[in-house]
């Protein structure tokens, strides 16, 4: 039981260790293990279109340091990414490209809509002919962050929120619901 005690806290490995003569037996649920692994190693896609991308870079920088939450492996190709942080305005010309990027990502995939532009078109809501009024017109969104641009702390909060969301997923059940 000592192993369990030393790993207490929100990131504790899910399950219980029963000590035996040769070591221990781990009793856990497959769902918990899958979610634990997934939520702590989300690889974001390097995708920034405008101002929010700079705040995303600040989050990656020394002061805020998103690698504390397992986000530091930013991938340049969608085929290796789990998460797409839509950082910046999406315009009509960019929307098909974003859709294609999303389609190229392997399942399971998650989307964070960063900033006012991706929620509703933001400051470009009125009187523009080219801005997509919210990125959820193009791809499904898991977490929204308001702000123009959001602070790095807000982005970190959205990442933690996404991790919590993933931790409550039921892997097998989700599949059945999708089929229905």
């Amino acid at each position: 039981m000592e192993i369990n005690k030393s790993m207490e806290g929100p990131l504790t490995f899910p399950g219980q260790v029963h000590e035996t003569a040769d070591g221990g037996i781990l009793v856990t649920k497959l769902d918990d293990v899958i979610n634990w692994a997934r939520s702590n190693s989300l690889w974001p896609l390097v995708f920034g279109t405008s101002c929010c991308a700079i705040e995303m870079m600040s989050t990656a920088g020394a002061k805020h340091d998103w690698s504390r939450f397992g986000f530091e492996v930013a991938r340049a190709t969608p085929r290796q990414a789990d998460l797409i942080i839509v950082a910046g305005t999406i315009v009509m010309k960019m929307a098909p490209v974003l859709k294609r990027l999303y389609d190229q990502m392997p399942e399971p995939k998650y989307v964070i809509a960063m900033g006012a532009c991706t929620i509703s078109g933001g400051p470009f809501f009125y009187n523009t002919y080219s801005v997509v009024k919210g990125v959820d017109h193009v791809i499904p969104v898991d977490v929204y962050i308001p702000g123009c641009p959001p602070r790095p702390e807000a982005l970190l909060h959205s990442m933690i929120t996404l991790q919590e969301k993933i931790k409550n997923e039921q892997y097998f059940k989700k599949k059945i619901e999708d089929v229905r």
């Binding site: 101002c51 340049a76 123009c148």
Partner: protein
């Protein structure tokens, strides 16, 4: 997307066409480059724009003279202050409004802090583009201090909207002078570190020296401005040539290079950072007392006519052209953005080089795509 790139795929024998972008880390945003290659040699480059065209110019036509300034923070977000200042100066020119000295000084200090953080970010990203990850973390360490000053005084980290017609929106925070001086001391002590890690590096020098040559004649004929043009020996610093705000009160050098290659462009920006520190040092203790904003009417109406103002952003010359028909909102607004003209010289610089050099050239031009597309 498909209609865009299929139209001229006709290639010669042995030619190979690749698409870089719109989603590519080295294009600094969503620029799409179509590159014709012969082996590794670049034969032709064609930039495709519009992936972040937000119709800011058209949108401004329905906004008042106070309100349209906010959209320009999102245009060149690394130089939000300077963009706002350009718009405010143009409106003031139309109103023939005299700005208080205190506002002029605050504007100049904030503009130079902006230039400093923009160049720092550029330095970090150039490192990333050329395969060095460490500069990114070094640059962002110092940049965060400047962001904190911005947040304290302007209320926002990136898109400040602090410059309004007639001056600045609020007075400076009581801590402003103290913290700015602290940051300057901090940054000055780091310049040597930056040089040690990047400037003298053999790999970096090999990848930038003699790469992406731009002659003085070409720089002028393509309308290239800013550090990119100054590296080719063109004297084009608006702060020196047509001083605005408090630039006529300060001493500083216009840094001119001769090489016209990537290394020259790199060195110009490294020296400009030192000049920015020098300018702020001259102003920070001498901010005059008085009003921070001139009195303006609630609804600003410019007289009929055309007004143009040029400022120097970290990327080059930004021009704001307002046509007024006497109403409360502009009849037409046109921005002459530095990035657009600088990008137009990219095919010339990249031609004949290797595809790896294209990345080095792009990063030393310091492209900000929303500034190009608007």
């Amino acid at each position: 997307m498909r209609g865009l790139i299929e139209d001229d795929y006709v290639t010669e024998e042995g030619e190979f066409v690749i698409n870089i972008g719109p989603q590519h880390p080295s294009t600094h945003g969503v620029l799409h480059l179509k590159v014709w290659l012969d082996g590794e040699t670049v034969k032709k480059v064609q930039p495709h724009l519009g992936f972040i065209h937000r119709s800011i110019e058209k949108m401004s036509e329905s906004l008042s003279y106070r309100n349209f300034i906010f959209a320009t923070s999102r245009m060149d977000y690394l130089a939000a202050h300077i963009n706002n200042e350009a718009c405010a100066l143009t409106v003031e020119k139309g109103l023939q409004l005299e700005v208080p000295d205190r506002a002029k000084y605050i504007r100049t200090i904030l503009a130079e802090l902006t230039r400093l953080q923009s160049h720092l970010l550029w330095w970090g990203c150039t490192g990333l583009d050329l395969g060095a990850v460490t500069p990114f973390f070094y640059a962002f360490r110092e940049r965060e201090f400047i962001m904190e000053i911005m947040e304290e005084t302007c209320g926002a980290r990136l898109t400040q909207n602090f410059m309004v017609p007639g001056g600045v929106m609020y007075d400076i925070h009581p801590n402003f002078q103290k913290r700015t001086k602290e940051v300057l001391t901090q940054i000055k002590s780091k310049f040597q570190e930056y040089d040690n890690i990047m400037t003298g590096n053999v790999i970096f020098e090999n990848r930038t020296k003699g790469v992406g040559l731009l002659s003085k004649e070409d720089a002028i004929s393509y309308g290239v401005t800013g550090p990119t043009a100054r590296a080719s020996g063109v004297s084009c610093d608006i702060r020196k040539l047509i001083p605005y705000s408090a630039y006529d009160q300060v001493q500083f050098d216009e840094i001119l290079g001769t090489g016209g290659d990537c290394y020259a462009r790199y060195m110009i920006r490294m020296h400009e950072m030192k000049q920015s520190v020098f300018i702020i040092e001259q102003l920070i203790d001498n901010i005059p007392e008085g009003e921070f904003q001139a009195k303006t009417k609630n609804v600003i109406k410019l007289p009929k006519g055309e007004f143009y103002q040029r400022v120097e952003t970290p990327r080059g010359e930004l021009g704001v052209f307002i046509v007024s028909d006497g109403a409360a909102s502009p009849y037409r607004i046109k921005y002459r953005s530095p990035g657009f003209s600088n990008l137009s010289a990219l095919p010339l610089m990249a031609k004949g080089g290797k595809i790896g050099d294209l990345v080095a050239i792009m990063s030393t031009i310091d492209l900000v795509i929303p500034d190009i597309d608007r």
